[in-house]
């Protein structure tokens, strides 16, 4: 059943030309240089220090590391992060 729904979604993206983030429940990330980062479609904060932010996603995790990280704003599905961003990494659910 779950596999069927995933397939259907991929099909929708392909045929109906829908934006992937809407359909596939993956995060949409907007970055302004290394200064600011806007992440949509997250599922909660797992770990936050001034060098690392770990966000929970629908399947997997998003790891952002950098320096002097500050969460400027946070909403149930959105995060606005500022600071010197060093790297972004996806950890897929095995």
């Amino acid at each position: 059943m779950k596999r069927w729904s995933r397939r259907l979604r991929h099909l929708a993206v392909g045929i109906l030309d829908l934006p992937q983030d809407v359909v596939l429940e993956v995060p949409r990330i907007t970055m302004i240089g290394h200064l600011q980062m806007y992440i949509e479609n997250h599922r909660g904060v797992l770990h936050f220090t001034d060098q690392e932010l770990r966000l929970l996603l629908t399947n997997g995790q998003l790891l952002v590391n950098g320096e002097q990280l500050v969460i400027r704003a946070i909403l149930p599905e959105e995060v606005l992060l500022e600071g010197k961003i060093g790297g972004v990494k996806f950890l897929q659910k095995p």
């Binding site: 909660g44 904060v45 797992l46 936050f48 001034d50 990280l69 500050v70 969460i71 946070i74 149930p76």
Partner: protein
């Protein structure tokens, strides 16, 4: 654009949160709809964030749930201001009272200014204004409209042709425009017009009185020209003689003009000197070394600081020296004569009085001596020769041969 005013009204605080499960608290708060911003980690178990005051109270059960402790670092916004103001009630009251007082005071007329009243005495205008209600200390709200006030004032002051009332802040300006009344002519006493100089009558027009001389007649000084006595010996009337008598008068003017002319002109070189004057001592501050000019024109400006009649004893003086060059020029005899004539004409016209016309000019004598040109010129000038002479006692009946 964020609504800064609204944010300030709501008021927010900066809190530090101490606890192991900071992230869990964040997630819970977000799910509850509590707004948090500027979140950062200071130390492994200390976080810091900003939060609305209202949300802070909703956060407290969550803190207990996650075992965190909060501490308020900074308070910002209107609510905290209000608390501070309540703590300084006297100060707040004073500020409010001051503003209220200022407003109240500005609703009164503090000064009445009367402009343009010259013939009408100012106190009369003032009295009229008081009757209408414009006086010092009057409440502006109780005054009628300026147009109505103007009309009422004009009724009270019939000498004025227009009155303007203007309320300028706490100042009431009453602008008076006076009626231009023609000065009634002074009743003139009976008088004669007599000659003030020896002359030959050039023209005579008698407006009132009897003309006693004819054109081209020679008159002596003091001779009656237009008589104020009318009628014959038996029936007489005295009038103020009026009229215009012009006579030809002769003048001789002696003028001397040097044949060398000295001219001064500025060379363009100038220097500014600055002095500090203390009592009777003047100390030059600038420049250190002043140039000295052979001939110069000096202008001086003084600046003194002070208030009203009090003045500092120190005076700042600025002197501007402009260098002048002297030029001596030899002028010819003809030019000298021309210059002399010009001076002579001016001299004669000033002697003859207003409205005089030079009829004839004759050079009598020219002499050059000791670098000067001496001229004597004869002028015949047509000028007004009439002078007034009141008839005091009952005069003897004048007859044409003079008085």
């Amino acid at each position: 654009m964020r609504n800064l005013m609204k944010e300030w009204l709501k008021g927010h605080i900066t809190i530090t949160i101490r606890g192991k499960r900071f992230e869990r608290l964040l997630n819970l708060a977000v799910r509850e709809g509590i707004q948090l911003w500027n979140i950062r980690r200071i130390a492994p178990d200390i976080g810091k964030c900003d939060i609305w005051i209202r949300d802070y109270f909703r956060l407290r059960p969550l803190l207990r749930q996650t075992g965190c402790r909060s501490h308020v670092e900074r308070r910002e916004g209107l609510p905290f201001w209000l608390i501070r103001l309540r703590m300084r009630a006297g100060f707040t009251l004073g500020a409010v009272l001051f503003l209220v007082g200022l407003y109240m005071m500005s609703t009164f007329v503090w000064r009445v200014e009367i402009r343009g009243a010259q013939q009408i005495p100012a106190y009369q205008v003032q009295q009229a204004a008081e009757k209408v209600g414009i006086k010092e200390g009057a409440w502006k709200a109780k005054l009628k409209e300026t147009k109505v006030l103007q009309r009422e004032l004009l009724n009270l002051l019939p000498q004025a042709s227009w009155i303007g009332v203007e309320l300028n802040g706490t100042k009431a300006i009453i602008q008076v425009v006076e009626r231009q009344t023609q000065e009634p002519e002074k009743p003139l006493g009976p008088r004669n017009l007599i000659a003030k100089k020896r002359a030959v009558v050039h023209s005579i027009v008698a407006e009132a009185g009897k003309s006693m001389v004819r054109v081209n007649q020679f008159v002596d000084k003091g001779q009656v020209l237009i008589s104020g006595v009318l009628g014959n010996e038996t029936r007489q009337a005295l009038v103020a003689a009026r009229g215009k008598v012009e006579g030809e008068v002769w003048y001789v003017s002696n003028v001397s003009v040097p044949t060398t002319r000295t001219q001064y002109h500025l060379t363009g070189q100038q220097q500014e000197l600055y002095y500090l004057v203390l009592g009777s001592y003047a100390v030059r501050l600038w420049p250190f070394e002043a140039q000295s000019y052979a001939q110069s024109r000096t202008t001086e400006e003084r600046y003194q600081a002070g208030y009203a009649q009090y003045a500092l004893p120190i005076v700042w003086k600025k002197v501007i020296q402009q260098e002048m060059a002297v030029e001596k020029k030899e002028i010819g005899r003809d030019e000298a004569v021309e210059t002399a004539k010009r001076f002579a004409r001016m001299d004669v016209l000033s002697r003859a009085g207003k409205g005089a016309i030079i009829q004839d000019e004759k050079v009598l004598h020219v002499k050059t001596e000791n670098g000067k040109v001496y001229l004597s010129i004869h002028y015949s000038v047509i000028e007004d020769i009439a002078a007034e002479q009141p008839i005091v006692a009952r005069p003897p009946v004048p007859h044409p041969s003079g008085n």
